[in-house]
């Protein structure tokens, strides 16, 4: 059962956001921060709305989204695949486990120069970086979910005459679904962060590039706009994933 959201909670929750905005406005209007360094929130959000309707800014968003989804989907396919395989087969497990132990704590951003040199400055290198970063959370939670499936469920299915490979789709995958989706959620947040960073390092388009261009010309207002955009994108995507989650997990007790 999901705890009901009380109206007082909503009030309490909006308070700090309102406070931050008020503090921001206050810092500017009382002259603690010069407008060139910290533009007031009204101007920033006005600029955001004004930018959102221009086609150039929309193209930047589309470029970012292509990379984000490309990398994220590759990570989901490989992460779920390898995770399930490692949980199902001891042989694959003994190969995958040490490799994951070495690669998971490796800061993937450091690989970006290598990817640039190998794959060029276009979509490919950025998508690969996003995929590499989002892969491990998804892989690990899939593995965790699939290897903690109750053995009794599998035995019952086998006793009922389910063929071995159907057990995978009918028992293991659904039972591991909550864990897989948790991994996907973390992977998605990481994808948002990484795609932005990759675009900041080298790019000719995308939201990260907008930020860098603004920073080089000291346009403080334009620096806030892409940051707020990526934050909003993250929130929207998170909401979408939540919807997918509640659809896929209908019938599950409290998730």
């Amino acid at each position: 059962m999901r705890p009901r959201i009380l109206p007082t909670d909503v009030l309490l929750g909006t308070a700090p956001i309102a406070l931050v905005l008020a503090l921001w406005q206050g810092l500017v209007s009382f002259g603690f921060a010069p407008v060139t360094l910290l533009p007031p929130p009204g101007i920033v959000f006005g600029r955001l709305l004004q930018q959102l309707v221009t086609s150039t800014f929309q193209q930047e968003i589309v470029a970012t989204l292509i990379r984000l989804f490309g990398g994220f989907l590759i990570a989901v396919v490989f992460g779920v695949g390898i995770g399930i395989a490692a949980a199902a087969s001891p042989a694959i497990n003994s190969v995958v486990r040490p490799i994951v132990r070495v690669l998971a704590p490796l800061p993937k951003v450091a690989l970006y120069p290598a990817l640039l040199l190998l794959l060029g400055f276009n979509h490919e290198s950025k998508i690969t970086l996003v995929a590499a970063d989002a892969l491990f959370p998804i892989l690990l939670s899939t593995y965790f979910g699939a290897s903690t499936v109750e053995q009794k469920l599998i035995w019952s299915a086998m006793a009922a005459g389910t063929p071995r490979r159907e057990i995978l789709f009918k028992v293991v995958l659904p039972a591991a679904m909550p864990s897989i989706l948790t991994g996907c959620r973390i992977g998605l947040v990481i994808s948002c962060i990484v795609v932005f960073l990759a675009e900041m390092i080298t790019s000719t388009d995308g939201l990260g590039h907008v930020l860098v261009t603004a920073a080089r010309t000291f346009q403080a207002v334009d620096m806030f706009v892409p940051l707020i955009t990526i934050s909003l994108l993250g929130l929207i995507l998170n909401g979408l994933l939540q919807a997918v989650r509640s659809y896929l997990l209908r019938g599950f007790p409290e998730v």
Binding site: L12, R101, L118, I186, M200
Partner: protein, 261 residues
Amino acid sequence: MTQRGALIARAAPVLACIGLLALWQVASLLLKNDSFPTAVEAIRAVPAILGDKEALINILASLRRMAVGFGVAVAVSVPLGLLMGRSRQVQAFFNPLLMVIYPVPKAALMPIIMLWLGVGDIAKTLVIFLGVSLPVIYHSFEGAKAVEEKMVWSGAAMGLSAAQRLVRIVMPAALPEILTGCRTGLVLALITMITSEMIARQSGAGNILFNALDMGQYDTVFAMIIIVGAMGICLDAAFERVRARLVRWSEPQFDMPLSFS
């Protein structure tokens, strides 16, 4: 596990390292690309970097910033997360704000923070602090929420004050989860450290890496990748040691790094 099995388990990550390096070697020999040196060439360039005094000072400065940012973040985030887990009001107060901040790439704040604080240590440490604190808050929160209510009640019945209950019951009970958060934070600290130095090109490991890329010293690029990667793996392994010792009492955990979930 038998003696032999334990030995194999310990050797496996080393074997995996060697295997990956061999794969790299073969790939670079096959591709014959000027900008993709072989693994042997890259490893040969490592001593040159570590022997260079200036580079060493840079790398140590990076590690110092990382340690400070990580330490302060843990010190602030753990109490906040625990409070959020125990009090509905505190949770309702902070949760939406944290949800809005979570998907913002912290290193992307670097250009803005640089405008205010300059390119020095403070700006970079602040960015690392921001990057580390969110996962630690989140995991402490989850850990504190899952503490068994009965234990807290027993503590209350025995006359512990609210603050004492938090420190003596909730914190130890949530410790495994908190440490998982710290481990994620450690990896994120390293990532944020590299990216912040790459954006504020002035000093540090990230600076060496991307300067080498700009100047086309590909051996150095790949050698730095090896160094940074080794830093990540060593820090993670060291942390895992500490963690295993601190939460020996808790159920045996997964030995794969589940740090991200």
